[in-house]
């Protein structure tokens, strides 16, 4: 058996309690993907059986370290859920993901965010806050960076034509929060007992460029957020303004919207599509 195959099979057994049980019971199909001969299988089985206590202790350490990373990455969610519910969620996650494709620690934390979103089942009255909390902590876990506004030097230098159609960048890491992170933290920590009103005036956008290197966070008003939500590259700015006019008594002038849009375009959050054949 090559050393690499041996190490791979061992790594799988360290990480997967069900696999260890199967190997100890002599189930050769448990390690079928490694194409081990019966002798090779017995070699690994012997290790896992002879040093069962220590292998299991090591596996426990691996899981503990994994959960510690989740603890750190999802501090607010953990506080909000309480220790029992948090532990249950982590246990479910570790049990499930152990048998899936493996990933780096960062990817593991990010994937946990997706898992939690699917499995949390929060009370309806808090669903939006839980969603924002997960978005916030998951984004932080993914980028593993302090999120500060950072503008690229790619701002369009020429005025864009009125026919240009803004489109919210479709990259998977683009995320919008309805609530400010501090409000979310206060809510998660129980500092704010009452639900945060839906009409919270500030929204935040997390943005990560396709190459994963650039991260921006931008704070925008509710009115502009509503506009962005409709910016799909089909409507012009005047048309979008018309669509959201009913949301606010305060009318936003087209030049001001242009200014905001240009700033958003400079970060790559907005891209402009234009009718074919027109000069840029």
């Amino acid at each position: 058996m090559s050393l690499l195959i041996y190490q791979s099979a061992l790594a799988r057994t360290y990480l997967d309690a069900n696999l260890r049980r199967a190997v100890r019971a002599g189930d050769q199909s448990a390690l079928a993907e490694f194409n081990l001969s019966p002798d090779e299988f017995r070699h690994i089985q012997q290790l896992i059986c002879d040093q069962a206590r220590h292998i299991d202790l090591f596996a426990t350490t691996l899981q503990r370290k994994r959960v510690e990373r989740l603890d750190l990455a999802y501090k607010l969610l953990r506080g909000r859920l309480g220790p029992n519910r948090w532990k249950l969620l982590c246990d479910q996650y570790c049990a499930q993901v152990a048998v899936q494709a493996f990933m780096t620690a960062e990817q593991d934390c990010a994937r946990f965010g997706a898992f939690a979103k699917e499995n949390l089942d929060p009370p309806v009255e808090h669903a939006d806050r839980f969603e924002d909390l997960l978005t916030f902590e998951r984004t932080k876990a993914e980028v593993d960076a302090v999120l500060v506004p950072r503008y690229s030097g790619n701002a369009p230098s020429d005025p864009l034509p009125a026919e240009a159609r803004p489109c919210l960048a479709s990259h998977a890491c683009l995320r919008v929060l309805r609530y400010q992170p501090q409000v979310l933290a206060d809510w998660a920590n129980g500092v704010i007992q009452q639900p945060v009103p839906e009409s919270a005036p500030v929204h935040l956008i997390f943005f990560r460029r396709a190459n994963g290197a650039e991260v921006s966070v931008m704070q925008i008003g509710r009115w502009l957020a509503a506009l962005l939500a409709r910016a799909d590259g089909r409507a012009t700015l005047p048309e979008l303004i018309e669509q959201i006019a009913s949301l606010s008594r305060q009318h936003m002038a087209l030049p001001d919207v242009w200014k905001s849009m240009t700033a958003l375009a400079s970060t790559g959050i907005i891209v402009f599509s234009q009718p074919q054949g027109e000069p840029s």
Partner: protein
């Protein structure tokens, strides 16, 4: 590879929450160890760079997975190169361990087999690392709850063979020696006498805890006296340049850390207590 002879002293692993204490007690910490993997994060790299301008720093990595029977991950290596280029430490280090295999990220250090095959593959990588980065590379001994079957020699023989074949240095974790010796039932001084102590440039010093009858390297407890005694033995017999106090959890008040650092510093500087004299007599 020429090893630095300058003595760095006694230091701590850098953590952002230490920043205030580092400002308040500038004389207590002689150097900082930056976890290279954390410096992949640009904001932490900025902090590390700023600190390294006033406090000497060394770089310790977690993810080279030098014991894996596949080439070093080129993407990871690029990140390592960037960190070393920016921080320019006198040496860098990682563990004699497997942390990743064929895309499987264990997130922790798992043991290598004590075999000639391991000696060959780790030595090759250590030679490459030193040549590529033009600075000493140190291998750190880990704690392990078990030994893989088929071992041809002991852990200290393995380390010795790799160091002799590759010319790399040793980052000796004396607490790991103590923990492994306790769990496996051997004399920790056999380990120390079995390795080329003249290749020990840096030491990791930490605490341990008992869990289910097994001693665990916790990084969260005070350094026990027997570990200080091991430290003294090593300092007496090797050109140690730097001693790092490892404390990652259960962080005590800085005074407590400073006390342990002062004790380590006095050992490094050759101060001898009555207890240590007894230890030496016992070892003679």
């Amino acid at each position: 590879m020429i090893f630095p002879t300058e003595r760095l002293g006694v230091g701590l692993g850098y953590r952002p929450e230490l920043s205030e204490d580092l400002d308040r007690y500038p004389d207590e910490v002689d150097f900082l160890e930056f976890t290279g993997d954390h410096c992949f994060n640009p904001s932490l790299m900025t902090q590390a760079l700023a600190l390294s301008r006033r406090i000497p720093g060394v770089c310790h990595f977690l993810g080279l997975s030098i014991g894996t029977a596949e080439p070093l991950d080129p993407e990871y290596m690029e990140k390592v190169a960037e960190v070393l280029r920016q921080l320019q430490p006198p040496w860098f280090s990682d563990h004699l361990a497997v942390t990743r295999v064929q895309g499987v990220d264990l997130g922790h250090l798992s043991p290598v087999a004590f075999t000639e095959e391991t000696v060959e593959l780790v030595s090759r990588k250590a030679i490459y690392l030193q040549e590529r980065f033009g600075m000493p590379f140190l291998l750190e001994n880990i704690t392990s709850h078990f030994t893989l079957p088929g071992a041809s020699f002991t852990e200290w023989d393995l380390l010795t063979k790799i160091v002799e074949r590759s010319g790399c240095g040793i980052l000796l974790d004396v607490n790991n020696v103590y923990v492994n010796a306790y769990n496996a039932g051997y004399d920790p001084y056999d380990f120390l006498r079995g390795i080329p102590l003249d290749r020990v440039l840096q030491i990791h010093l930490g605490g341990a805890v008992m869990r289910d009858g097994v001693m665990i390297d916790s990084h969260g407890h005070p350094v026990p006296d027997p570990v200080f005694e091991l430290l003294e033995f090593v300092c007496d017999n090797s050109p140690v340049s730097a001693i790092l106090l490892e404390r990652d959890r259960n962080m005590p008040a800085f005074d407590e850390l400073a006390g342990e650092m002062r004790r380590a510093r006095s050992i490094l500087n050759g101060a001898r207590t009555a207890e240590s004299a007894q230890t030496k007599a016992r070892l003679a």
